[in-house]
């Protein structure tokens, strides 16, 4: 009768939940790979952007950029772009669609529960973002001689805080958006101001001092110089780290408070 009639009792007694989570993770990864548009904007486009900036941008250190090379300024900015697309577009769209479809509700009636689907989504996002960060560091190092982070501890801390803040932001968007479309729209709209302050269009060094001060109090505007400092071998500024930590704490708390499992 039983599908596992011939497996030893011990095997049958292993909890179904960890097995269930692994399968859930694999399934979510497959589903993610089936969305080529996310892979394009999240991974391929930023890599191409980095290559274009590195090849076409000025090669010598520039006084206007604080005597550092153009590509050194843009490496953390491109990194921020990847993290933002993955956290703010991919994650909320997936979560909002799962909620709208009643899939979260359906999973909540199984032993695995809907929380593990959220966990699987976040694990996948974290893994992709780690890959994205390493990819950018390696390309910048070997194609354009940008040094690997000299202050590695500070770099990890800054990246970890940035990712926490952005993932929290993504879940908050999924929570407030009434539908998948709106979630994706909010994510894309927020991308522009966030990336503006990170210095995608105007490097922070070239912003007026007032604008620069404002940008340092936005999540990515704090993250970009923090990462740039760590790459250059300095501990990130404590104001940048505190701003990032505050965003991470507040956004994650809001995410936990407002996330809805049900339509």
């Amino acid at each position: 009768m039983s599908a596992h009639a011939d497996t030893p009792a011990l095997v049958r007694l292993t909890p179904g939940r960890s097995q269930g989570f692994r399968t859930l993770l694999q399934t979510e990864l497959k589903l993610f790979v089936r969305e080529p548009i996310l892979l394009f904007w999240g991974l391929a486009f930023p890599v191409v952007l980095l290559l274009v900036l590195g090849v076409a941008g000025p090669k010598q250190p520039e006084r206007a950029l604080g005597d550092v090379k153009f590509i050194v300024v843009y490496t953390p900015v491109v990194m921020m772009l990847m993290l933002t697309v993955l956290s703010l577009s991919a994650l909320p769209a997936a979560l909002a669609s799962y909620r709208d479809k009643g899939y979260l509700r359906r999973l909540s009636t199984t032993p695995v529960g809907a929380l593990r689907l959220l966990a699987a989504q976040i694990v996948i996002d974290l893994a992709l973002e780690a890959v994205a960060v390493v990819l950018i560091l390696v390309i910048a190092r070997f194609a354009f001689s940008v040094p690997l982070p000299q202050q590695f501890g500070g770099f990890l801390l800054a990246i970890a805080l940035t990712i926490s803040a952005m993932l929290g932001f993504g879940v908050v968007i999924a929570a407030v958006a009434p539908s998948q479309r709106v979630a994706a729209g909010i994510g894309s709209l927020l991308l522009f101001p966030l990336m503006f302050f990170a210095g995608l269009w105007v490097p922070q060094a070239e912003m007026g001092s007032g604008l620069r001060d404002v940008s340092h109090f936005t999540p990515l505007g704090a993250a970009a110089p923090a990462v740039q400092n760590a790459i250059a071998g300095h501990w990130p500024g404590s104001v940048h780290l505190l701003v990032l930590a505050a965003y991470a704490v507040v956004l994650c708390a809001l995410a936990v408070r407002f996330f809805r499992w049900d339509r």
């Binding site: 859930l24 589903l31 009636t109």
Partner: protein
């Protein structure tokens, strides 16, 4: 496992679900109003009623998806929603209007849900029984309504639940697929699984259910076997009279509940000795009945009568 053995021998406590004085409010309206039901091991229990009767809300409370405002629910001896997590391994739920991710394939969905349970059914065998074996590679978004429905049933049954809650089981299925699904559910019941079936198809309830509860405006208006309910609604006798006959004379007969005449045909509905009473009247008036037909009332007739009766009572109550 011993629990499996006792389960399949049909032992253990007879009552699988007990609902006592359940009340659920949506804002000002009482969606479920004082519902009490007891469902036994190994039966297919139907919850019938028109849209908005509170059927889905009731089973959502049993499944731990909704918190009741008042009342007590026990499933397999455990209180709901307090022990809903423990019950997740033993209760399989097919939700109304619940979809899967668009690009998830049928095979992947069944394998995924199978991985949630320790002693899951064999996915291939289940897909074959539901006629989905050719669809393993098909994405959810490309399935027809009926195929989605069957997949949803597969996912509710894959964990070998002791209690299966199926909401609008065959909505959207063609008649052939509907019959197939009914057979599958009977097979599941024969393995000792208790089934709660929410439906508004009387034919489905008549075919499948061991007992049914009729819900109307959030209240239980009857609980019985489908045959028991139908027989309560009596019979229908129809004929074409040769000779003059005043329908009022028929209405005056004992046991007659309704008389309709249409296109020269007269239909008399009622219980008791309906046929004898009508025939006696016809003979005494010298009327010959032609093309006589006698029908047993169906569950649907019973349902219509009871809901109409409940509405009339409510009206009277309002008038008072």
């Amino acid at each position: 496992m011993t629990s499996t053995l006792t389960r399949e021998n049909g032992q253990g406590p007879a009552e699988v679900v007990s609902i006592e004085r359940l009340r659920v409010r949506y804002g000002d309206t009482l969606a479920v109003d004082n519902v009490s039901l007891s469902i036994n091991r190994g039966e297919i229990f139907g919850i019938l009623g028109p849209n908005g009767a509170g059927k889905t809300t009731t089973v959502e409370c049993v499944g731990g998806l909704r918190r009741p405002d008042e009342g007590q629910i026990r499933v397999l001896g455990l209180e709901v929603p307090r022990h809903r997590k423990k019950l997740r391994t033993q209760v399989g739920i097919q939700l109304q209007a619940s979809e899967l991710p668009d690009k998830l394939r049928v095979g992947e969905a069944v394998d995924l849900f199978a991985s949630f349970y320790r002693d899951a059914r064999e996915p291939d065998e289940l897909l074959e029984r539901l006629g989905l074996e050719d669809k393993r590679q098909t994405r959810f978004v490309n399935l027809s309504g009926g195929q989605r429905q069957r997949l949803s049933i597969a996912l509710a049954l894959v964990g070998r639940p002791q209690l299966a809650i199926l909401d609008e089981l065959t909505t959207g299925l063609d008649p052939g697929a509907r019959r197939e699904t009914w057979k599958l559910i009977e097979g599941v019941r024969d393995q000792g699984v208790t089934v709660i079936l929410v439906t508004h198809f009387m034919e489905e309830a008549e075919y499948l259910c061991d007992r049914v509860a009729l819900l109307h405006h959030g209240r239980v208006i009857a609980v019985d076997t489908p045959a028991g309910l139908a027989s309560g609604a009596g019979q229908r006798l129809s004929f074409r009279p040769r000779g003059a006959l005043d329908p009022a004379a028929l209405r005056a007969l004992p046991g007659v509940s309704a008389v309709r005449s249409e296109d020269g045909r007269i239909e008399v509905a009622g219980g008791g000795d309906l046929v004898a009473a009508v025939m006696e009247l016809l003979v005494s008036r010298g009327v010959v009945p032609l093309e006589t037909r006698l029908e047993q009332s169906s569950l649907e007739d019973a349902f219509m009568q009871m809901t109409a009766g409940a509405d009339a009572e409510a009206l009277e109550g309002d008038a008072r």
